[in-house]
């Protein structure tokens, strides 16, 4: 409980100081040396463990590498062959299609459901803390454990869902991982897991809306729905924009839960993340995997830019 409260406080303070940035700049950053002392180690860390591997990965995507940790045997012929192969790879098309579906599901259901839950919890006086914990809880459980949990729920023989359906009179078992249902089966746990994450961000944003506005609106005779429509949603817009950007970029990286539930892209459930991992660790096609990683980064940058343009934050 204490930790959760601290988490809310930190987000609330971050949002507050973002507005007060100019004042902070003028006071805190006068002396540059201490700043450098603290920044340089982190900068070096980022260079060594992020930027050098990142550029090396781009280089690797042009080389021939037949196993993790194995030295490249030279450049591919032609050097861009992995990128050509990507365009002709049917599984890659499946992965891109599924990833875009995942992005839509993430934005609509994760952020959407989180918004509804946040609005509901914000409007209750008793038990709000309880619901905050309940909705946030899936975030703290590891994705692998959740994958195993949902595997048992969707299990063909003796799975929870099939047993329930049997109890209600269904005579045949449903294969929840068959091609027809696989995408839905994969997306439900992913969406469910991250609702709590956006819920916390949104509820912190809601806490920052001054109560006086609601009181004034209530005195003016505004109904609860009108208060949400004309006060809450407009003032929450910037926070929602942040959520959408996080959701879109996050969906591009989804890996662990789908991989546990659908190993090796079972039933055409490839995502860009799982397909990249598959080539790096299962087929030893490391250079192709690197090329997919480059594509994921490029897509991430393009989509972030598009989302930032479409959901441009407003100044109030």
């Amino acid at each position: 409980m204490g930790l959760l409260q601290q988490y809310y406080d930190i987000i609330a303070k971050a949002l507050y100081y973002e507005k007060k940035g100019d004042i902070m700049n003028s006071v805190l950053y006068k002396k540059k040396f201490p700043l450098l002392v603290f920044l340089i180690p982190a900068f070096i860390f980022m260079i060594v463990f992020l930027y050098i591997p990142f550029f090396q990965n781009i280089l690797n995507s042009f080389k021939n590498i037949s196993g993790l940790g194995t030295a490249a045997t030279g450049y591919n012929s032609p050097w861009y062959s992995n990128y050509v192969e990507m365009f002709n790879d049917a599984n890659m098309r499946v992965a891109l299609r599924n990833t875009f579906l995942m992005i839509i599901a993430t934005v609509v259901f994760e952020v959407g459901v989180a918004l509804i839950l946040a609005l509901l919890v914000d409007n209750i006086k008793r038990g709000a803390k309880f619901y905050r914990i309940v909705y946030f809880f899936p975030i703290v459980v590891s994705a692998t454990a959740l994958g195993l949990l949902f595997n048992l729920i969707f299990l063909y023989d003796k799975g929870m869902l099939n047993q329930l359906l049997e109890f209600f009179g269904k005579s045949s078992l449903t294969d929840w991982k068959s091609k027809a249902l696989a995408i839905t089966t994969m997306m439900i746990p992913v969406v469910w897991q991250y609702v709590g994450f956006y819920f916390v961000i949104l509820i912190t944003g809601l806490n920052n809306i001054p109560g006086e506005l609601y009181e004034a609106a209530a005195i003016d005779g505004a109904s609860r729905f009108q208060r949400v429509k004309f006060i809450t949603l407009p003032l929450l817009f910037n926070v929602m924009c942040t959520c959408v950007v996080l959701a879109v970029t996050g969906a591009l990286k989804v890996f662990d839960l789908p991989w546990v539930m659908f190993p090796k892209g079972m039933s055409d459930t490839w995502l860009t993340g799982t397909y990249m991992y598959y080539h790096a660790f299962n087929t030893n096609n490391v250079d192709y995997s690197s090329a997919i990683a480059v594509l994921i980064v490029v897509l991430g940058i393009i989509l972030s830019k598009v989302v930032n343009t479409v959901f441009k934050e407003k100044d109030y």
Partner: protein
Amino acid sequence: MKKLIALALAGAMVLSLAACSTGGNSAKPKNTTINVVTTYAGNDGNAQNYQDAVAAWEKESGNKVNDASATSDESFKARVLTDFEAGSEPDVLFFFNGVDANPIVSSGKVVSIDTIRKEYPDYASNMKDGMMGASPVDGVNYSVPVNGYWEGMFVNKKVCEAAGVEIPGADTTWEQFLDICQKIKDAGYAPIAASLATVPHYWFEFTIYNHLSTTTHNVLPTGVDSVQGKGWIAGLGDIKTLYEKGFFPDNTLTGTDDETVQMFIDGKAAFLIDGSWKVGGIESATDDIDNFTVTYVPGMGDRKSTDIIGGLSSGYYITKKAWDDPDKRAAAVSFVSYMTSDEMVSKFAQVSATALKKGVTVDESALSSLAKDGLKMIAGATGMTGAVQDQVPTEARVPVFDGMPKLVTGEVDITEAVQQVLDLLKK
């Protein structure tokens, strides 16, 4: 003055420490810690035997083992190869002796048995040299095997009884097997427990074997029109037929191996092709071990049903790093010799194949009926060949293993898939 005293005291301390250190080394040889990596971990049937053996060796030799064993899967293989590439290989490694070990043999980072025997003439002298599993790189023995494997068809007797069919035996043909499967299916059971999505390789081996023979099976195809190429295409076609006839479980394209094996244990499926390691798995998963037996996979053509698949696919390597270290050389040799002694191999191998000159010493009275049936099956085998997949690198298996669901549903043409394997092999 104080400075002089402090300097003198510091000097005396350094000298005394140096003397202690030198005296310690010359007085008594220090015990060694060796780094060992094996696949005896997780749900491996011999994981506990391995732990016990390591503890016993540590007690006997006074040395220590820094163990980093892990379950054998593709990630494990990648980790081992990466460790060798990065120069952080273990001192002793229990690893595959087929193409998977080619990079470490080619790099010269493991020591051959002949080299070791020059200094330790009795090293692996209890093994048949011809069965130790020579490296595909140069035909030289580098590893000392422990327990080998065989593959056979496990049977749930009650399912066969309920369906009114005879348990397939040494004389059962493929056509008769198809009739048996049909009767089992008609009785409401799944004839074959197999996950074509995750573990299609047992059926891959035997259906191909059925179109080849003991002498031609373990040879890679040179083209789709070669004897082996045609065998592969026909064999994969047989799996497609089995799928189309509905002989696999309904969720064979989406279920895991654990799920289909559980179906077999629960009496919902009749047959399961698996390896000798499954004997222990079935024993621990059921209270009624007498309900299970193991028999030959029905054959056709040149392959008799009694021609089985088996061999010794893994062994203990001593790395050059350990060999070149005077402290670790003797400890590594002692460890491998201990782990591959007749007594230890018998304990690990039980009903599976070994390279021991004297054979295993197994107390049959302590074996389950299923384990005894396994021994009988081996005794009645008319021929044995290794699994051809062991010659195919992981990346080249993709079109027929990971692609199996698309092959049996007809989304991908079988001949094209085999051609893709051959293209990847050429790479």
